[in-house]
Symmetry: C3
Subunit: 154 residues, 3 copies
């Protein structure tokens, strides 16, 4: 089943296009590899899910933020590629969790993103390599930031 059909079937609502946060492109393609810039949990109207996980946000709220980053990344892929079915698979995710110093569950937080990608792109194509790490703060105090390398259908 195609990613576009799955978006409809799962009744997913993608946020509006993410406003540029600096001097960069949302996606750069070289060969059949696409590099997506770091995205935050964008809600629309210049609003993001903010706060440190393990301090301001619970694990469940962090997972929700990670899922929201995934929706924002899907929006950018759709905007930039025209069609999500041009994505052949996820290659690598670097995921940053705005973390209290004693918070250790970054992988569980980022599963909120990875579950969504698995649901949209499928078990094989939707699961890539991944690193989940912590940071002491993030731009605009967003809860999660994710950058993504994808493979494109040639």
């Amino acid at each position: 089943m195609s990613a576009e059909s799955r978006i409809q079937e799962l009744e997913l609502t993608l946020p509006p296009s993410v406003p540029p946060g600096g001097i960069y492109k949302p996606l750069v393609i070289t060969g059949n590899i696409g590099y997506l810039s770091g995205h935050g949990p964008y809600l629309g109207d210049d609003k993001y899910i903010t706060g440190r996980v393990g301090e301001d946000l619970t694990l469940a709220e962090g997972q929700q933020a990670a899922r929201q980053v995934g929706l924002a990344l899907l929006r950018t892929m759709k905007d930039q590629l025209g069609d999500l079915n041009k994505v052949s698979r996820l290659v690598k995710t670097l995921a940053l969790v705005n973390s209290a110093d004693d918070f250790y569950q970054q992988p569980q937080v980022i599963n909120g993103f990875s579950e969504l990608m698995k649901d949209v792109f499928g078990e094989d194509r939707g699961i890539g390599a991944r690193s989940a790490i912590a940071t002491n703060t993030l731009p605009g105090n967003i809860a999660v930031e994710i950058e993504l390398i994808i493979e494109l259908i040639q």
Copy 2:
């Protein structure tokens, strides 16, 4: 000399296969490039070397942790590729050190990993590009996390 022979010559003991820490694949290959997920200093039996370097761990203990991450990465490469000789060289390492706020020796910590890779793959193939950075915490409070891009023999 081949990487497989070097493992034997150096009498290196690789840890058991690293248990999955979330929804991701240990290695994704696209073209002749392999992306290895973030690995920790896995000791087996679900145990990892934990703690903040410069606070809970000394520089030497941090280096030992970085070396252990290297052994875990070698285990994953061997599991996934069947044979370490399929690795033509290291391309790029992103290395995160769980660091006290006033700890500044991340490159020296990560040399514990890079020395091992140099010993196993040789001066030329075993030394890649690298970034060593700090984080205020890491998954499960592991001391070091490393993700790796490798080039494969075609």
Copy 3:
């Protein structure tokens, strides 16, 4: 206009070659993609711009540090490639800002780097995908560290 001509026109002074900070190569090329190791704001004579942005350094000082990292990266590209005109474009930047826990303007800091790249390589080739994140500390307490993926003319 070529990058080499722009360096002259803008009267940019590149710092001396950055001394190796560990066991790694400054640049690894695979196919037509180059991976540059994490660079700091090198001033020459083993001196770097140091300190936490939002605590020891202002936003403007952080931007200056990010720009200095860009100059150091240009030096390494020139040293390693012989000629900056061999760079066809920037692909992806991962930028780390040594940040106070309540500092949220990492993208604005890293614009100091991105403005320089845009000036040297032009609007299209000089602007790539980018992630700007925070860390609680960095090697040698440098203010900014940046690693870079570039595409090379074949």
